[in-house]
Subunit: 585 residues, 2 copies
């Protein structure tokens, strides 16, 4: 098994998982992350304290082998695809088909698969085109033989976007785009690269770095998610202040639809040429066609990348600081603010400290909490990434330190900042570890105006307490949150919710119901339906609250225009309404 | 006549025009602009030199009264609108109808109207709603009585967007939105304002300034164009580096269509909620419905606004400087680069200098040209606007001055910078003055990658020489250009073309043919169809070169989805294809 092999269903690399290295201690396997190999004695106690339930190795539920429905194969279509693609790029293997029929929703997808649930409908066939011509031929075959096509990128969505509609009677063909991963050309003079859409973020950065460039798009799923997937979900990356969100990065994209190829033949930095077809490709979630390539902005690797971190007395102080940073002219590439619970989760992942390290760590904590009077249960922490020329980075750090004083913050150093960002890549492994104990965890996000941040967070916390109690959840439900992006008119808040399903008859159903209740509360208090995760299936039913009927019709009519036969029948977002038969719940 | 009255057809305010104040000297009437009232002895000689034709007061062609076709009024519709709107907000006056049936294309629209041409089809009726409910009622009446609706903002487009399709048999109702000009609310906490779409740029800035805010969107048409028009054309403003282009400024917009209102009920700074209806409202050019209001970003008035200017030895040096400025982290709100001809046009508008001023001016020129060795026919000049805190502005100026040295530029002071920007607002008055001598002038723009700037400019110059010669144009055709916006991957180039129609049988037709030939040349050399002017009618036939067929179908299907009866039948951009019967040419 090559070292970069992924687990077919769980998050991440097959070589990386959490495992017990003592009765109350865990470690991360492999050697890929800063955390890997280190013993973490604080995590289980923290989780037990937060959730109010014991985590006992003896209680681990073993994974069961997922059940996979038999494929419905249209013989004429199969014959046609056999002529198009060699056998090693067509698969009806049950695990491969299943792996292409879900994303990374913990409760509705991964846990369900691994702990005895099953999917009524999955992809019948997985194909792997190597170029745009093959994609066109696959689309033509699907039209001829009345099949349903589902583009597949990294499979990292957390919106149910890859769940197949149960009522789909046609053969469902998943088009795995990951063999289309070439950087086709680099245009140094204009700072652009033409890149195939199946490239993962890591592979893209590696390829560009060889020429001294970076794209800078850094979603938490960077290692697995693809350029095409970013466009289809309208993705956001942590360093968007410097590099932009995906809609700022992509200058032009090519979309192969049943009516032909949607593309602009004269891509330009900015145009006014009427209604832009490209505008609908962002957030198209597989409904329109296959994104095959894109022209993206690239940048010389920055001269310097420096981390920073700050500790605030309260989340409110931190928010006021974030707002002040926007008014200044020294916005760093990334700046995030975590609440106390999330800060403590990060701290709980620290290795056991020994000797001088233990002494230094104790001293720092003593100073912060006793001398400076910070309260561990109410503080907030900010992690910062600064990129640019040496002068630019120095100027940013100096401006941030100056501003921080106004908000009574303590500068907590580069190492804590770096650590904060590296945790981003570890968090889903934690989720998968705890699921064997019936602990369900999910993240969801929203964008809110600046003056609604406190209200939305408080309302979500209140609603979780009420909803969990009403449903007989044992222990305490957990909700942490962080501000991951700031904009002129508001921010993105990223929530992590967890609780133990112990003792519940239908823990998945309870989790889903509570999550939907929280989404409604967030909407009711001025939050958006999603900042960057997308709609997929799990947010679909909220769309009529968000867009007017004519607005939904505008985009659905566009879909019908290029895909009158609904070949791309995955049914995400507006294109899955009004048929409400999502297979989630 | 109130002082803010506009000329019904020509550009601008009725109190402002150029007139002779001597046989070879002109002045601008009124008192509205820095240029107003001053004698300008250098302009006519410069134009004569550039165009190689004499400009003699005696040759001025008098304006003729425009002919206006009789209105086609649908009695049932009229009765319905009479119930909806008082008489002072409904007009069938020929001049009012005509004024609502064109934009500011010099040759195809304004000159044609004033010098003996006519329009075969114009609006039959002009209505002025005061609120969104009235707009909805007008749309309902149009559906019931089968009328055609045309939203009207400032009437400043230069794309033929307001030209009525000749074949339109229904009653054409122009909806003048300018009575809907209120700032409905200001949200200080989140830096937003909800504003009715009929407000002009000047009125918007005035209203916001009363509360200490600015929107910062500054198109050259600021005094007349409206928020709704900006959205419908996907407008760009000169200070976009600081405030963004219109798509960055508008957080949410409301569009009233025949199928209902397109709007987002949970506007947010950034979302990922599937395909965005709002995305198609930008550049919709009146094809989808009426934009009634928008939520826009606003900013506290900057602490400081400072101008600057630079003179370069060559346009290429200036371009290299612009690119270096982008790589620095001190991008000013606006930075523009004019070529030598445009620089000299600006210089030709200077008032006669006397005494110490004349001496100082001569001395400066002597120093620049004799001592520093600049060549007036090859130099280029940069004008700069810096806005922000005092510290920010100081930092920008210092960075720009430092960079300028690397590109052998001479800092030419704040006053020349301020002057450059104030000329922006005067230029269309010049155009209208010279049209009485048969001199036609038009501007058009494109966006090009950085490494195509020189090529596109040279190709346009060459093509103009060849095309003009082939068509027997007398004198020399004139082409000047400037870079008005810079982006990561390219720039906007703004061309001004002029020549004398003297001796041509069909000067308007020749001008149109040459302009279309130049557009093709620009496209062939890697330019876009438009950076911010839009498509309207005059760029329509190039659209199939720009967007693939499936791309055009995607947006046209969206249009049919919300306007199946083509009530909004103005036929701009993709929505006017394939019916090729534009009334231009």
């Amino acid at each position: 098994m090559p070292s970069d092999a992924r687990h077919p269903h769980r998050w991440g690399f097959a070589d990386t998982r959490l495992e017990f290295d003592g009765p109350r201690s865990v470690r991360m396997t492999g050697a890929r992350y800063p955390l890997s190999g280190q013993s973490m004695p604080h995590l289980i106690p923290y989780v037990e304290q937060m959730l109010g339930v014991p985590v006992d190795q003896a209680d681990a539920v073993p994974e069961s082998a997922p059940q996979v429905p038999v494929p419905r194969l249209n013989a004429a279509l199969m014959a046609s695809l056999e002529r198009l693609l060699p056998a090693d790029r067509r698969s009806t293997d049950p695990i491969v088909r299943l792996a292409h029929s879900h994303g990374q929703l913990a409760v509705g997808e991964v846990d369900r698969l691994l702990y005895g649930g099953h999917f009524a409908r999955v992809a019948d066939l997985v194909v792997e085109p190597v170029d745009e011509e093959e994609v066109r031929a696959i689309v033509a075959a699907a039209i001829e033989h009345d099949a349903c096509l589902v583009p597949f990128g990294g499979g990292t969505n957390v919106s149910g976007a890859l769940m197949c509609p149960e009522e789909e009677a046609r053969t469902i063909v998943s088009i795995d785009m990951r063999r289309m991963s070439r950087v086709l050309s680099i245009d140094r003079a204009n700072g652009c690269a033409l890149v195939e859409a199946g490239i993962t973020g890591s592979a893209l950065e590696e390829a560009l770095a060889a020429d001294g460039y970076t794209c800078g798009h850094t979603p938490d799923s960077l290692e697995f998610s693809t350029l095409g997937g970013w466009i289809a979900t309208n993705a956001s990356g942590m360093k968007k202040n410097r590099y932009g969100n995906i809609e700022d990065i992509v200058i032009e994209a090519t979309l192969v639809t049943p009516s032909g190829t949607v593309e602009t033949r004269r891509p330009a930095a900015r145009t006014s040429t009427g209604m832009q077809p490209l505008a609908l490709v962002f957030g198209s979630e597989g409904n329109l066609g296959v994104i095959t390539k894109a022209l993206i902005a690239i940048h010389p690797k920055p001269e310097e990348c420096r981390y920073g971190s700050l500790v605030f007395r309260s989340f409110a102080d931190g928010v006021a600081f974030l707002k002040a940073v926007r008014a200044d002219d020294a916005l760093p590439a990334s700046i995030r603010l975590v609440n106390s619970r999330e800060f403590r989760l990060g701290q709980s992942l620290r290795p056991a400290a020994h000797g001088i390290h233990a002494w230094k760590s104790r001293l720092q904590r003593t100073w912060l909490f006793s001398v400076r009077g910070f309260d561990l249960t109410t503080l907030a922490a900010c992690t910062i990434v600064m990129e640019g020329t040496r002068r630019e980075v120095a100027r940013q750090e100096s401006a941030l330190r100056r501003l921080a004083k106004r908000f009574r913050a303590v500068w907590a150093g580069a190492e804590n900042g770096r650590r904060g960002y590296s945790l981003t890549f570890a968090i889903a492994y934690l989720r998968d570890f705890f699921s064997q104990f019936g602990i369900a965890a999910e993240s969801f996000e929203t964008s809110v105006p600046w003056d609604r941040i406190a209200e939305v967070c408080a309302a979500a916390e209140r609603a979780l307490t009420v909803e969990a109690a009403a449903r007989g959840v044992s222990g305490h439900p957990y909700l942490s949150y962080r501000v991951t992006q700031t904009y002129h008119a508001g921010v993105c808040i990223y929530f992590t919710m967890a609780f133990s399903g112990r003792g519940l008859t239908d823990p998945g159903g309870v989790f889903h119901d509570i999550e939907q209740a929280l989404r409604q509360v967030i909407l009711d208090h001025g939050g958006s339906l999603s900042h960057h995760h997308g709609v997929g299936k799990i947010r679909q039913r909220f769309l009529p609250q968000v867009h007017s009927g004519a607005g939904l019709e505008l985009v659905r009519a566009a879909k019908r225009g290029v895909d009158p036969g609904n070949i791309f029948g995955i049914g995400n977002g507006a294109c899955g309404l009004p048929q409400t038969g999502s297979s989630i719940k």
